[in-house]
Amino acid sequence: MFSLALKEIHFFKLKYSLIGFILFLMASLVFIVSGLAQGLSNDNIAALEDMAATRFYLQEDAENRLDQSGYIIDELEEEIPRDTGWQPLLTQMYRLDAASSETLLDVTLIPIDPEAFLYPSVIEGEDLNDSDMLEIVVDRTMKADGVNIGDTLYEADQDLTFTVVGFTENQTYRHSPIIYIAETAFYNLDLTPHQVANAIVIEEVNEELQTDIHQTLNDGTWVEKDAIIQAVPGHSSEQMSLMMMIAFLIIIAVFVLAAFFYILTIQKLNQFGVLKAIGAKNLFLVGTTLLQVFCLTVISLILATAFTIFVSNILPEGMPFEFDLSLIASYSIMILIVSLLGSLLSSIRIVKVDPQQAMGRTE
């Protein structure tokens, strides 16, 4: 069965490579779009996903959006010490000037206690110190803008000059890199007379602490991280439109593949009749056909994966594209199932072929 299937593919190389090529294109498109979806998603919410926080306390009318919520936390700081397990989360949008870039760079500035759970360690350079120096660690995507360790970034409104000391990874939020600065340095700038935060976060669920914080701030609710992620502007709609594209691609693939395999089967009906006449069973013929489709699909999927890796390497640095092997594997399985189902459809024709037609009736 296996050798028969392969011999036919080998003999009709051109025909089968064309079908394989179509399969390859479909699969590549699915993979690349899913890579983009993943990349965009990362660009928007990676920092939240990686954040070592499980619950966020936000104002009720903020609709789970960090930027819509805000607290003055002077009182909270006095009443409940941070070492009970909470941290303030403050995000500020800035536009910074880098010597290496012609345009201003949009960034999200987060003042942070470098000793606390919110702080992500650097993958390159040095970690932040709890000092009043204007040192920052930035997401490594800023390398694409030419930013290097030791460079300075300039903020024009307040006339601030930050020095990059290290790079973090996966620290992007709302399509911009996050730059972390020590809290001490931030408040030392006297930009605000109060301690402020968009949200209060805790590392682990702690009912008692949550109640205490709620009673102190008295305006807000605790929500889970996932709800915060879903509420990030653009995230749901971006993911939804890309998922729609993928879904349509797969639906189109179902029809194109089913049509291809059907035509292929129709072409061979006579031959199936002959094989049946000399004793081939339906199971054997259908099995051979499915095996061919299986081989073609697997080879095309492997090539499409290789092609996707290639594409992810030649894409410009700033392009949000994430090669995720487990995602590709799950789409591959889906495509494989789809093409096997498509060929199963034409197998009905194989079963129906009358072996008597091999006798060549005179009509």
């Binding site: 028969l4 011999k7 003999f11 049946k276 006449a277 000399i278 006798m359 060549g360």
Partner: protein, 226 residues
């Protein structure tokens, strides 16, 4: 001695427009081992229908078909396929070879489908190719062969699983006279040598000299003699 192929009171009708026409009417027939029988008759007289029923490709409306004294009347598709695979060898009008298989692979395929591809089968394959004169063509594809050569491959394929019965439906219709003689002589020789029960449908009366007996198909009946 039991004949490998016996048809008893076989009737077959086909629908022609509104009414049924009896193509075969109450036909009884026996093919003996080592005997080469010819069936002649005008076009449309039902020769192919007769051969299809004899060859487990078509089930009769009435009557019985015995292959090696087993009645195949109640057989399911799968069992019929098995009968065709192991007990019957077909030679069709067109050689009907598998286009993407080499000559030796054509024979190997039927042995593999039967599940007995072993050293013995391999030797047997070599012998068969030798006896149909295609030893040198073993690695050729069908499109590289002439019409006569293709038909020789089909003959060898029919004998590959060593069936008791050989059925040929106008095996020379696509060949010229010299080639036709050659092919039928070859079938006759193989049938004698390997002691098969063979039936050939033809409308070329010059080929009857190779056969042991002749039947004529006429108005749904099978009549002995020219």
């Amino acid at each position: 001695m039991i004949a490998p192929l016996v048809l008893e009171n076989v009737t077959k009708a086909f629908k022609d427009g509104e009414q049924y026409i009896n193509i075969l009417q109450d036909i009884s027939f026996t093919a003996e081992k080592g005997k080469f029988t010819a069936v002649i008759g005008p076009s449309g007289s039902g020769k192919s229908t007769f051969l299809s029923i004899a060859g487990a490709l078509l089930t009769p409306d009435h009557g019985e078909v015995f292959v090696n004294s087993q009645s195949i009347a109640s057989y399911k598709d799968k069992q019929l396929a098995n009968v065709r695979l192991t007990s019957i060898g077909y030679i069709f009008q067109a050689a009907n070879l598998v286009p993407y298989l080499k000559v030796n692979e054509q024979l190997k395929l039927v042995a593999q489908m039967k599940g007995n591809w072993d050293r013995e089968a391999k030797q047997w394959l070599g012998q068969l190719l030798e006896s149909v004169g295609l030893k040198a063509r073993a690695e050729y594809y069908p499109h590289q062969l002439s019409g006569g050569e293709k038909q020789r491959v089909a003959i060898a394929r029919a004998f590959m699983n060593n069936p008791e019965i050989i059925l040929a439906d106008e095996p020379t219709a696509n060949l010229d006279q010299a080639r036709s003689d050659e092919i039928v002589a070859l079938i006759a020789r193989e049938v004698k040598e390997k002691e098969k029960a063979a039936v050939m449908v033809t409308h070329d009366e010059s080929l009857l000299k190779y056969c042991d007996s002749v039947y004529r198909m006429e108005q749904g009946k099978l009549i002995k003699g020219k």
